[in-house]
């Protein structure tokens, strides 16, 4: 059962490399996304005990749901994107770019799934590195000079980062080579956490530092974030949505699971300090660059760095912020996925990424304009959206832990980012349109590209008002795992 979760998309991804007809391939993409969501629901209704290298505990299930939902939305959006962008391509080419794109996209889903459900530290590493390799071709789909530059940076920086995480894995294995009792058990996150007090402490610290820096590079924590704005702004919008909403979470999961081991070994203070340091650095870096941003897709990318910073702080601050952190991961992914798709629609209307050239969006494309401003309010944590609930939960948790310094720093950055973003977004939506009247009218609504962000919007609105009982249960169980029960 659990094996089909990543092997089914793997097979279907390989299939789409060889399918010649565009329509069939697109149908396969949508079908795979639907089937994956179905499989995820089936797996999470099953038993939760995890043994062996692969298994879906509550933490995995939570991240699986986020990834699968976002992939479904993004694949429908992709179908709209592909059918409006690829008319010019000749049909008789032996290997079309679109086939490569769709194939890599589905394989990317398969490897993200494998990363989320892998319990073995090295298997997790293999899956995360595979996601880098599969998503690099996605970023340069448009094959412009800028997108090539972005994907070279992405490939090189993330590969080096993940190589550093591999050193962390080796160090983690060395922690077990100091006692005879430890030599036999498999290197899974669970087993390591169970025997945490027997592990060699110095090597455990080394392992955590390397894994935090390695997976932190992939997660986009400052100062290792430099690839992120380029990759997110240059890739097709459905890919940006997946990178930001799903991929960053996968890397975060590795850090979370390692942090559990550290907590169990009594080194919780050490890991907390590091997590909070990188989280705070990301918050500061993001607020600095958001205020002076002129490109609206880069704006969203820096906002992702901000939210990864919040997640790192929530993971580091301790027991009271875990629940808020997990809820925030859900909210951020759904909101950011929606925002990137809307940004893609804006880009499609105005043909520019410069926010100062986009004016009067609400008159030119009312629904897109509405979603853009609603998404902005949601990502800044304004009620009644889900992010408000999760950010308040994290902030009160920080207060209960007496982490006043980081609490005030987070509040200040959230304020700065709200002001910085609102200045840009409000002018984009309500500003005077430079275009003449005949250019304004006649925007045909493309349902393929407007329905996915619209449905994500409905979800984050619901999450702000009420957390459904199954999700609440999943969040509670995930919090228990993070606390080490």
């Amino acid at each position: 059962m659990i094996f089909t979760l990543f092997s089914a998309p793997f097979v279907s991804g390989l299939l789409s490399f060889v399918i010649k007809r565009d329509k069939v391939r697109r149908a396969l993409l949508a079908f795979t996304a639907l089937a994956h969501l179905l499989l995820v629901s089936l797996v999470s209704s099953g038993p939760q005990t995890v043994s062996g290298w692969i298994g879906a505990d509550a933490l995995s299930q939570l991240f699986l749901f986020i990834t699968s939902l976002l992939f479904l939305a993004s694949s429908i959006y992709t179908i709209g994107y592909l059918s409006s962008h690829s008319q010019s391509e000749s049909q008789d080419k032996r290997f079309s770019r679109e086939a490569g794109f769709t194939g890599c996209l589905i394989l990317f889903l398969s490897m993200m799934t494998l990363a989320i459900i892998s319990q073995h530290i090295s298997l997790f590493w293999v899956a995360i590195e595979a996601t880098t390799l599969l998503s690099a071709p996605l970023i340069c789909f448009q094959s412009s000079a800028r997108s090539l530059e972005a994907s070279w940076k992405y490939l090189l920086i993330c590969s080096v980062g993940i190589a550093i995480a591999l050193i962390g894995n080796i160090a983690m294995a060395v922690t077990c080579s100091f006692g005879e009792a430890l030599k036999t058990f498999p290197m899974t996150f669970n087993e390591l956490a169970r025997h945490a007090d027997l592990l060699q402490k110095d090597w455990l610290k080394i392992a955590f530092v390397f894994m935090l820096i390695g997976y932190g590079t992939k997660m986009g924590l400052a100062p290792m974030h430099t690839w992120l704005p380029d990759a997110h702004s240059e890739s097709p919008s459905s890919v940006s949505a997946l990178l930001s909403g799903a991929l960053l979470n996968c890397a975060f999961l590795g850090i979370l699971r390692t942090n559990i081991i550290l907590n169990k070994a009594g080194l919780g203070d050490f890991s907390a300090k590091l997590l909070i340091f990188f989280g705070a650095a990301s918050l500061l870096m993001a607020s600095w660059f958001i205020v002076q941003q002129k490109d609206f897709k880069r704006l969203l990318a820096y906002s992702s760095i901000e939210h990864m910073g919040i997640l790192a702080v929530a993971a580091g601050a301790g027991v009271n912020t875990y629940f808020g952190g997990m809820l925030h991961a859900v909210n951020h992914s759904l909101t950011k996925g929606m925002l990137f798709m809307v940004a893609g629609n804006i880009l499609n209307i105005y043909k520019t990424k410069s926010s100062s050239d986009v004016r009067g969006l609400i008159r030119r494309a009312p629904l897109t304009g509405f979603l853009w401003i609603a998404g902005f309010l949601s990502i800044c944590g304004v009620p009644p959206f889900g992010t408000f609930v999760s950010e308040i939960t994290i902030l009160t948790g920080l207060g209960r832990q007496h982490q006043w310094l980081i609490l005030s720093l987070m509040l200040a950055s959230l304020g700065v980012i709200f002001v910085g973003m609102s200045r840009i977004v409000i002018f984009m939506v309500y500003g005077e349109s430079p275009l003449s009247d005949e250019e304004k009218g006649g925007q045909r609504i493309d349902y393929w590209t407007i329905l996915p962000p619209l449905s994500l919007f409905v979800m984050i609105l619901i999450l702000g008002l009420w957390i459904p009982a199954p999700l609440k249960g999943l969040l509670d169980q995930a919090t228990m795992i993070l606390r080490g029960y």
């Binding site: 590195e129 590969s159 050193i167 294995a173």
Partner: protein, 212 residues
């Protein structure tokens, strides 16, 4: 005795890589380095290795010392670059930093509490040094292909670090790691072709369109 000789050879190769501007020579160097590092890792094992580990080492040699260097050679031919001109850091400066890195690696290994069954701590130090040299090549050079060579060097170092610290993963996962490295260099190679076609060069110094 055998491992002392191998350590010296690997050290010389790494130093050569830091001082060389000829890309063809660099590719040859990374191939020999892969071969000798794998031999070193095999020679420092105290206990008898099970047969599947021998197969893995053999496979690693084939990939790292044969297939990937051939691929890089081909990329060199297609993109018509011969030399790394105007590196980010000069060659003598790179060599000097390399020397400091060597001292740093030995000092680190000397300070660390090593597991009891490690054969030769110098082998661990040399693996660490190779890794550092790879990182240095990535930051100090500007040609995309040199950065790829740097990445491969770094992975060589990490692979041997794992082997000398005697922390083998299960075979399937070792294969997965090797496959990732292989595909990684492959994708980088393909991208080098694309970059060369789009920009007429593969110098990442001119990657300046994206910044804040």
């Amino acid at each position: 005795m055998m491992d002392q000789v191998l350590i010296a050879i690997v050290l010389l190769i790494s130093i050569y890589m830091l001082g060389s501007s000829r890309l063809g020579g660099l590719v040859n160097a990374v191939a020999w380095q892969g071969l000798f590092l794998c031999l070193l890792a095999a020679s420092v094992q105290k206990t008898n290795m099970p047969w599947h580990e021998w197969v893995l080492i053999l496979l690693a040699i084939v990939v790292k010392a044969l297939i990937l260097p051939l691929l890089l050679k081909r990329a060199l031919r297609e993109t018509l670059v011969q030399r790394e001109v105007e590196p980010q850091l000069g060659y003598s400066l790179s060599l000097f930093i390399g020397l400091l890195l060597l001292v740093g690696s030995i000092w680190t290994v000397w300070k660390l509490p090593l597991p009891p069954e490690i054969g030769n701590p110098m082998a661990v130090a040399i693996a660490l040094f190779t890794l550092m040299v790879g990182l240095l090549l990535i930051v100090a050079r500007t040609k995309a292909i040199t950065q790829t060579i740097g990445y491969l060097t770094m992975e060589n170092g990490i692979y041997v670090l794992g082997l000398t610290l005697a922390v083998g993963s299960p075979v399937v996962i070792e294969m997965g790691i090797l496959l990732d490295v292989f595909v990684g260099v492959l994708v980088m190679g393909i991208m080098i072709f694309n970059i060369n076609r789009e920009f007429d060069h593969i110098n990442t110094r001119h990657f300046t369109a994206l910044k804040d």
